[in-house]
């Protein structure tokens, strides 16, 4: 697909190597926690001081944050809301990645709003979301400082149906594709894929590939004629890669996840979309043969 070596400093100067964790902020931590347990995640640790739980399966971490301060200012008490509030990127050196982003114009976050008391550098992304930069040196885990393991629970639950983080869907305003392409390109060396190239079951918008080619951002503009629709620029959906979509759908349906059946059989092998759950959250499966170590994409 691409003939440049993306592991060289020229292609990937920040050494981006996938997603370390995705954080959801929610007014309904129990219901949302139960939902991602249906997806195969296991609650493995609780925050030492805040209403925050760490879920894991395979090499995926999801932080569920019920701290009111983490919700967008537009959230209302009487309306259930669950939003993707942060994405943490694995990088070679977090401080270098952070300083690069700041030099390129990113806004530094105030660390007190972050879930981690450990000072994880981060910048503001789409909507109210945060982009964190995380490096891992040796056995040290960023979770050790802030989280206390839940007793009797395996800290390394296996991935269901080979699930791994594949990508994130972001809604953008009409005509703002070039602006976001330049934003992600200049801050983090993401590269736009040719128009019309898609993975999964939702062939809309445009795809940006991480320089490590292990995950993707899908930018989606409002549908035509959606003038009156509420359409904010924000992160809207996580996509999980699986080697066999129909098998993963069967496994997840067996656990109570409901998929929208609208694709022809051929598209169904490429991906599947869950229903929209309470709080406005949905998930997507995308065919991807990435190996368990997380290196390389399909």
């Amino acid at each position: 697909m691409m003939n440049i070596d993306n592991n060289t400093p020229a292609g990937n100067p920040l050494g981006i190597a996938g997603i370390e964790f995705i954080e959801y902020a929610t007014t309904q931590p129990l219901a949302f926690g139960a939902l991602i347990e249906q997806l195969g995640f296991v609650a493995i640790a609780r925050h030492r001081s805040r209403e925050v739980t760490l879920y894991r399966q395979g090499d995926m971490n999801i932080v569920v944050n019920a701290d009111k301060r983490s919700l967008p200012s537009s959230a209302r008490d009487d309306m259930p809301a669950t939003v993707i509030s942060a994405v943490a990127l694995r990088v070679r050196d977090a401080d270098t990645a952070y300083r690069h982003a700041i030099d390129m114009g990113a806004w530094a976050i105030q660390t007190r709003v972050g879930v981690m008391e450990l000072n994880i550098p981060g910048v503001h992304g789409a909507g109210d979301s945060i982009l964190y930069f995380v490096d891992r040196i040796g056995d040290f885990s960023i979770y050790d400082v802030d989280f206390k393991p839940i007793e009797g629970v395996s800290q390394q639950p296996p991935a269901l149906a080979g699930m791994h983080f594949f990508g994130i869907v972001q809604s953008i305003d009409e005509g703002r594709r070039p602006e976001w392409i330049d934003f992600y390109g200049q801050l983090m060396n993401f590269e736009v894929l040719p128009e019309g190239q898609f993975f999964g079951a939702v062939p809309k918008g445009i795809l940006l590939a991480s320089p490590c080619r292990s995950f993707y951002l899908q930018l989606i503009e409002p549908p035509p004629g959606a003038g009156s629709l509420q359409w904010d620029e924000q992160l809207v959906r996580v996509g999980f890669g699986v080697p066999d979509v129909p098998a993963a759908v069967r496994a997840l349906e067996g656990r109570g996840i409901v998929f929208i059946e609208r694709q022809p059989a051929q598209a169904g092998a490429r991906g599947a979309l869950t229903q929209l759950y309470k709080g406005g959250v949905s998930f997507e499966l995308v065919v991807s043969n990435r190996d368990a170590a997380g290196a390389g994409a399909q």
Binding site: D103, M104, G127, E179, Q186
Partner: protein
């Protein structure tokens, strides 16, 4: 081209924000360019001013103006970036999709195109998550960048979709700019066109330009450069520019007139502008008819 393409600039109108908004609405304009001070100096405070604007139903063309931003280093750069970001927040609050940045006049600023381009790209990145575009304008008395061609050079060099060029006819006419050069600039890189004229032919010194710019601009069609303005408008239209035209007419006399009267003059100017472009369109259609 119709009235929806044109907006008033609040600097042209006398009186408090409320009456400016009311006069624009009453005249049939659908947009207005605001200055940050329109909001922050409002007696009821900026939040109430923002609500006033939002309730008016007028679209905010953009927010003026970030000065002396680019080409600085160290603490000065950080300071100016911080100021620019406050203005970006104001843009977001009031729903303005454009922040106008005019070329630096600072003796502390460097003028290397690569340096200026880097600073503009940085601000363009800062503005992306807020949904605001950066428009860069050459002031005719700018220290390093004082012609639209120079401003275009650095905007092009910055290569960021969230950065565009703001063309201001006053500054272009004051420097006797070559309007033909506009054809080099892709229409989608022009963030805004600001229009005004003035009533004498020459503005030789920077001091004369500053004086006239700040006190005696007039509406298009009222000044001494109608032929040049007409050429500029036709060139922009030919190049495919379909964006906003803001009537930025800074004039001490207008500030002694009721805003309704000044809005009336603005409507005449909008008609004059449309006529210039329409004339060109008809000519082109006729030409095509003969050759095909």
């Amino acid at each position: 081209m119709n009235l929806a393409n044109f907006g008033m600039d609040s600097v042209t109108l006398a009186g408090p924000l409320e009456s400016k908004l009311r006069a624009c609405r009453a005249a049939g304009f659908s947009q207005i360019m605001l200055w940050a001070r329109d909001l922050v100096e409002h007696p009821a405070g900026p939040e109430e001013a923002v609500q006033l604007v939002r309730r008016s139903g007028l679209r905010v063309t953009g927010i003026q103006v970030m000065r002396d931003y680019e080409g600085l280093s160290g603490a000065l750069h950080e300071y100016k970036l911080d100021i620019a970001r406050h203005l970006l927040r104001l843009c977001k609050a009031v729903g303005a999709r454009l922040l106008v940045v005019c070329s630096s006049t600072s003796a502390h600023a460097g003028g290397e195109p690569a340096l200026v381009a880097r600073d503009l790209a940085k601000l363009a990145n800062s503005a992306v998550p807020l949904g605001v575009r950066i428009g860069y304008e050459a002031l005719s008395w700018g220290r390093h960048v004082h012609a639209y061609e120079q401003a275009w050079e650095v905007v092009d060099l910055a290569a960021h979709a969230n950065l565009g060029l703001v063309l201001d006819s006053f500054h272009m006419l004051a420097r006797e700019a070559d309007m033909e050069g506009l054809e080099e600039i892709p229409a989608d890189k022009i963030a805004l066109v600001q229009l005004s004229d003035f009533m004498w032919r020459d503005l030789g010194s920077a001091q004369e330009r500053i004086e006239t710019a700040g006190h005696l601009r007039v509406f298009p069609g009222e000044g001494s450069h109608s032929a040049e303005l007409s050429g500029m408008l036709r060139q922009l239209d030919r190049g495919g520019y379909r964006g906003d035209y803001s009537l930025e007419v800074v004039n001490d006399d207008y500030l002694q007139l009721a805003p309704e009267i000044v809005c009336g003059r603005a409507l005449s100017a909008a008609k004059w502008i449309t006529d210039q472009v329409l004339r060109r369109s008809l000519q082109v259609r006729g030409y095509r008819g003969r050759t095909l």
